[in-house]
């Protein structure tokens, strides 16, 4: 599964284009920078108050210079620090070109569930609702199925929804989907997966995108 997470992150990195402002959630999204072409010029924003984050420091980590998950980072030229209200102001205002979030479930209309598993995990919503509301493009990354095999792409979310109709693209270890209007489109098969496997393991109907390709 470690490998599957890397594969998802690597594919997600291709969505990050030169000149973008990017916010990455915790979990798989935090692996995305490892797969960016070093020549890509982007600004990473973190909701704890920084725009222009650089890589993890090799030495001399500073407890007061961290990303939203609390891990040490550095700054790049042009970086700024600001308070939490300004951080979320830019998120709600639509200044984030692409937000890449982890997900528990996504339905065929792009509803995102990623903050609570009632009776089990109750981590809380963090900044996910605002990111989902404000980002120009929201990409959900997740394993295609639960450990017990249950599909995570569903007709209707059984978990409490974070934000309705916000997900534009889903990237899993098996496939890439787009959501356009209320419809799910299969864009790509990931290396090693098949149309049959994706059909069986997806809990919602989908169409094949006109640009469909098989990454095998």
């Amino acid at each position: 599964m470690g490998d599957a997470r890397q594969i998802i992150a690597k594919r997600a990195a291709r969505e990050v284009k030169n000149g973008m402002v990017v916010n990455l959630g915790i979990g798989i999204p935090s692996l995305v920078p490892d797969f960016l072409d070093p020549s890509t010029q982007v600004f990473f924003q973190a909701e704890n108050g920084i725009l222009g984050m650089g890589p993890t420091p090799a030495t001399d980590a500073d407890g007061n210079l961290s990303n939203a998950a609390g891990y040490p980072v550095t700054t790049l030229p042009g970086a700024s620090y600001f308070d939490s209200a300004v951080a979320f102001g830019m998120i709600r205002r639509g200044c984030i070109d692409i937000s890449i979030l982890g997900a528990l479930q996504v339905n065929e209309k792009g509803d995102l569930a990623n903050w609570i598993v009632p009776g089990k995990r109750v981590p809380g919503v963090g900044g996910a609702m605002e990111l989902a509301y404000g980002a120009k493009n929201l990409i959900a990354l997740m394993m295609h199925c639960e450990k017990d095999g249950q599909p995570k792409i569903v007709k209707s979310c059984s978990l409490p929804v974070t934000t309705y109709g916000c997900v534009k693209k889903i990237i899993t270890d098996l496939a890439v989907f787009s959501i356009i209007g209320d419809n799910l489109y299969l864009d790509e098969l990931m290396p090693g997966s098949s149309m049959e496997e994706v059909k069986v393991k997806t809990g919602a109907g989908f169409r094949i995108a006109s640009t469909f390709k098989n990454n095998d």
Partner: protein, 233 residues
């Protein structure tokens, strides 16, 4: 190549202005109003502009220079006391003026700039400045609803900008500028000094460059303050 370089010339800046636009301007009595962009605005010939800012400047200072040309259709401001021409235009029906309490006005601009949908307050309740703003009852109290304001274009005056548009202001010239910068669909900054990315301390930046579309260099204020004019003050 720096993909994030937003520095341009006044020729390009000019193209952002259009008839009937809503224009937010930074500044307080002209202090912090971008002098080069005001002249640029005047030169375009745009008309029927809907202005939003702290005040009407002075006839020869700040937004006041533009107002005197009778090309503004409306103005939302906290006062026009320093610009008698604005008062005359209002009384003659040539300029529609909506007064707002000063701090409420900047909060309305902020509300738009941070992507919220307005706020509630008791300030100005029961006075003429209620206009037709909705009253909202929460529990057993009634508040005035103040709507967010966004500008088609925002003009801002900064002391320093880096090429990404990270901004630093100068003393009391900061005033409404940070929120005006956030609330423009297109924000144009005039800066006294433009420096490469990396030259500003991330800690000193007041407005992150993410809000800025264009940066033009400033030649400084091109008007005299009232206290510099013997007999006027």
């Amino acid at each position: 190549m720096n993909l994030f370089n937003k520095v341009t010339d006044y020729q390009t800046a000019r193209s952002v202005f259009f008839d009937n636009m809503t224009l937010l301007f930074g500044g307080f009595g002209g202090v912090g109003t971008p002098p080069g962009l005001i002249d640029c605005l005047i030169e375009t010939g745009v008309k029927d502009v809907n202005l939003v800012g702290n005040d009407a400047g002075f006839p020869w200072i700040g937004i006041g220079k533009f107002i005197c040309l009778e090309r503004a259709a409306s103005l939302i401001a906290s006062h026009i006391g320093s610009n008698p021409v604005a008062g005359d235009l209002m009384n003659n029906g040539k300029l529609k003026v909506e007064f707002s309490p000063q701090g409420i006005l900047v909060e309305r601009i902020r509300s738009g700039g941070v992507g919220l949908n307005g706020f509630l307050t008791e300030i100005s309740k029961g006075t003429q400045l209620e206009y037709n703003k909705p009253l909202v009852k929460i529990g057993d109290r009634e508040y005035l609803y103040e709507a967010p304001i966004l500008g088609d274009v925002s003009i801002v005056y900064a002391k320093k900008a880096d090429t990404f548009g990270n901004l630093v202001f100068d003393k009391t010239a900061r005033n409404t500028n940070p929120y005006v910068a956030m609330a423009g669909k297109v924000t144009v900054v005039e800066a006294d000094e433009i420096v490469p990315m990396g030259e500003l301390d991330p800690e000193e930046i007041i407005v992150p460059g993410i809000y800025v579309k264009y940066i033009v260099p400033s030649a400084g204020y091109n008007w005299k303050w009232i206290w510099e004019m013997p007999g006027k003050s």
